[in-house]
Amino acid sequence: MGRVIVVTSGKGGVGKTTSTANLGTALALLDKTVAVVDADVGLRNLDIVMGLESRIVYTSMDVIEKQCELSKALVRDRRVDGLMLLAASQKNNKDDIQPEQMKAICDKLRTTHDFVLVDSPAGIERGFSNASAGADEAIVITTPDVSAIRDADRIIGLLQNARIEPINLVINRFSPQLVGNGSMMDQDDVLDILNIELIGVVPEDSGVINSTNRGIPLVYEDGSPGAQAYMRIARRLTGQRIPIHNFEQKGLLNNIVNWFTRKK
């Protein structure tokens, strides 16, 4: 039986879709079978980020309305073995789907896949309850700023009430430089407030936008810091124990280097 993991955040635009696409791909690259599910009904874009937009014929709505079989609605990613996408309908809105219907889909997908990753819409309303309905685990994405953390905290409370466990945290768009000069919260500040397990830190990476535009998840080109961060998170998800990469230490070193070069 596969694991159903909802990727969620509270605040919008912090990198849920980017993370779902990259973690799904990374897990497939690690020889796992993966289904990524877009639960952002009405505002779908997981398919775009994964570069599969043009191949979508059916969506989860068609499955719910019994217009097609679930297996037929899954789009296979041809670049890697074992990766499938279930797209969201763009014509409908979040209220057209019931949490039980999402749960039924997830329960079916977990019989054929090691991992089912559900890309949640932002917010705490219906879209969130739909996305989390079938999940037993969660990955909460936050950026290291006060408002995103506050909303992540809110979501964590809701996930805990729904008995979803474990809840792992990804800090996205982390910038050692900004932490170094005191304008961004560091890892410990974030963890101090949210007090859940940290599964990874993804640095601010200009490659992300480029990869989104081309529909090629970052992890296919594993050179960038963002890609490496997502690969490490995927390994941790499969149970490998690898230490959390400390971007800050590097930042400190940079600062010292900067300091010396400035002195000259």
Partner: protein
């Protein structure tokens, strides 16, 4: 002038620089001594070796009386007087002859003492959007109270973590209610109908702090040094 101050005689208060013994104006030395005895016995613990600063509101006791009082505090309670300060602003005498042998918290609060009320334990962190309310008594939180969350209690609120959200103690009007947190960085504090107006530090100081209604009828936050 509010009745709370007019009716009270002496009060022991912990401030950042240590313990203060606040003595109201227009009192005889015998009234002061009786009130001190009552205030100290109310505390239920020895003050031996503790140093105290005496704050006098003028018009006040005579110089000899103050000296006598200092030596009595030393002899009877083993309290060291580290200083005497007289507020220069004279306070007019109370309009009516009010009973004077009362301590602040007793005159303003006729409810049963805090240890006879129930308390409720919240064994986890309270997160944004969550509210915990316990009008019947005190709340003890084994975790943080995060920004965007709210805790309300009829009695005290004790946070064994960081207080970042809003805390409302004494929600039924108990003005002796206090808010204690291991780390204090609240968004908003309320005790009874007093809302904190003075700015409370948003940065935890690294030691436990307590919020209570102070002598000047505002919520004061200070280092927590036991009851």
């Amino acid at each position: 002038m509010n009745s709370k101050m007019a009716n009270s005689t002496v009060a022991l208060r912990a401030y950042r620089d240590g313990l203060h013994l606040i003595i109201r104006p227009h009192l005889s030395i015998t009234e002061v001594e009786a009130a001190i005895q009552q205030e100290i016995s109310r505390m239920n613990r020895s003050l031996a070796g503790v140093s105290v600063q005496i704050d006098l509101k003028s018009p006040t006791l005579k110089k000899e009386e103050i000296e006598l009082l200092s030596s009595k505090l030393q002899e009877t309670y083993d309290l060291t007087v580290r200083g005497v300060e007289v507020a220069d602003e004279p306070v007019p005498p109370p309009i009516a002859a009010a009973p004077t042998t009362h301590v602040i918290s007793q005159t303003t609060d006729t409810r049963p003492p805090r240890d006879s009320e129930p308390s409720r334990i919240i064994p986890h962190t309270i997160r944004s959007g969550q509210t915990e309310e316990f009008p019947q008594g005190s709340l003890i939180i084994y975790g943080d109270v995060n920004s965007g969350s709210e805790v309300k209690a009829g009695g005290d609120i004790v946070v064994l973590g960081t207080l970042r959200g809003s805390a409302y103690a004494g929600m039924n009007g108990r003005l002796s209610a206090v808010i204690i947190a291991m780390d204090f960085a609240p968004l908003q504090l309320q005790i009874g109908n007093y809302v904190n107006r003075s700015s409370v530090s948003q940065e935890p100081r690294g030691y436990p702090e307590i919020a209570r209604i102070g002598a000047e009828d505002v919520i004061i936050v200070e280092k927590f040094v036991k009851f």
